[in-house]
Amino acid sequence: MPAFPTLFRHTFPINLTTIAMIFLTGLIVIIVMRVGLRRLDMRNPRGLQNMLEWAAEFAANMARDTMPTEQAVRFILPLAFTMLFFLFVANWLGLIAIVAVHIHHPIQHWGITPQDFAQSKGIVELFDSPTANMSMTLGLAVMVWLLAHARGLRHPKQWLIHFYKPSPLAIIEEITNPLTHGMRLYGNIFAGEALLNVLVSAPRLFGWVPLTLPLTIVWLLYSAFVSTIQAYVFSILMCLYVGNKSFEGHQHH
């Protein structure tokens, strides 16, 4: 396990790499969007604008498939689009590069304790997928969970009923849904990067070509595929969970 620069290591640990990567991912998304929207043209969209519109259309379709009403679709659409784009970039960042530094002694300012130092053999990661962090993905999942319940509380009666209406076991879902939602993303991305790390750190031929190069390439392609799919899965599950708790469409049943 590599170590991370951490703030408030003993009381309220904040992984600085993850937080920085969240903002970096956001920055990349914003830059791409601003470049794409530089010359907004209603009549004949070109290049990147086309791509962005396709992505927005894709997010809208995703939301329409899972949301009961058009109003709910309009509510979730910005978040669905952002989530899709953000996670796509975030998942890919770790595949493009992982930057780590090798330190020779624990640095207390970075929040790296001697135990961490011993465990990570002095490797400190500075550039990584933000989604390869359990706390971050669970944070997103819980955020979605909170959003869903906040929306559900617009109709308090139905919100109360839905806990025991099909069966009281639905309460279990309230715990498992956000847990699996977050852990699925974390697991896929983390596993991809961890195995990639192992493959790349295999013995080198001529000093720089890893002996596992074919395997590495295959795994890289597979991880890229998984990263893309997981961005989609997380986003559509978000729409689904929020849609399930949007009761305005259920009233007519």
């Binding site: 903002f23 706390s135 955020m143």
Partner: protein
């Protein structure tokens, strides 16, 4: 490893990023798409409306054309009828004129014939009167008779020569 600090700060960071992205990125994009949707819809509606208008105008034109054609036909028919009538009239007049002229000619001939007949009759009467008077005047003997024949022969000879 689950870290509470990372968990909470991640949520906050993501919300900040989301807020910025939706503000500067998604909103203009969605606006343009909505604008296009509205534009396309309005264009489609316009096209539909124009098509209906065109159809209506075409129908009107067709009706007008039909009406005009009918009118022209009516006018032509009337003219033809009038011409026919006129021709018939003229023919009739001509026939009448001819008949009149013929009748006049016939009448003239009749009159002249009657006149000629009258003259002939008058002449004959005169001649018979002359002849009678002559006969009555010189009714006499053998001698006179012979003289008369001689005279007649002489006159005949004169007439012959």
């Amino acid at each position: 490893m689950f870290e509470l600090g990372t968990f909470i700060v991640s949520i906050i960071s993501f919300l900040i990023v989301f807020w910025i992205i939706s503000k500067v990125g998604f909103k203009p994009l969605a606006n343009v798409m909505e604008q296009r949707r509205v534009y396309v819809t309005s264009q489609l509606e316009d096209a539909e409306k124009n098509r209906h208008e065109a159809e209506r105008l075409l129908e009107e034109q067709r009706k007008l054309l039909e009406q005009t054609r009918q009118e022209a036909k009516n006018i032509l028919d009337a003219a033809r009828q009038r011409a026919d009538e006129q021709a018939r009239q003229m023919l009739k007049e001509a026939q009448e004129e001819a008949a009149r002229i013929l009748a006049e000619g016939r009448e003239l001939i009749e009159r002249e014939r009657a006149e000629a007949m009258n003259q002939a009759m008058q002449r004959m009467t005169e001649l018979s009167v002359q002849l009678t008077s002559k006969l009555l005047h010189s009714y006499a003997n053998e001698q006179v008779h012979a003289e008369m024949i001689k005279e007649a022969e002489q006159k005949l000879g004169e007439l012959v020569c």
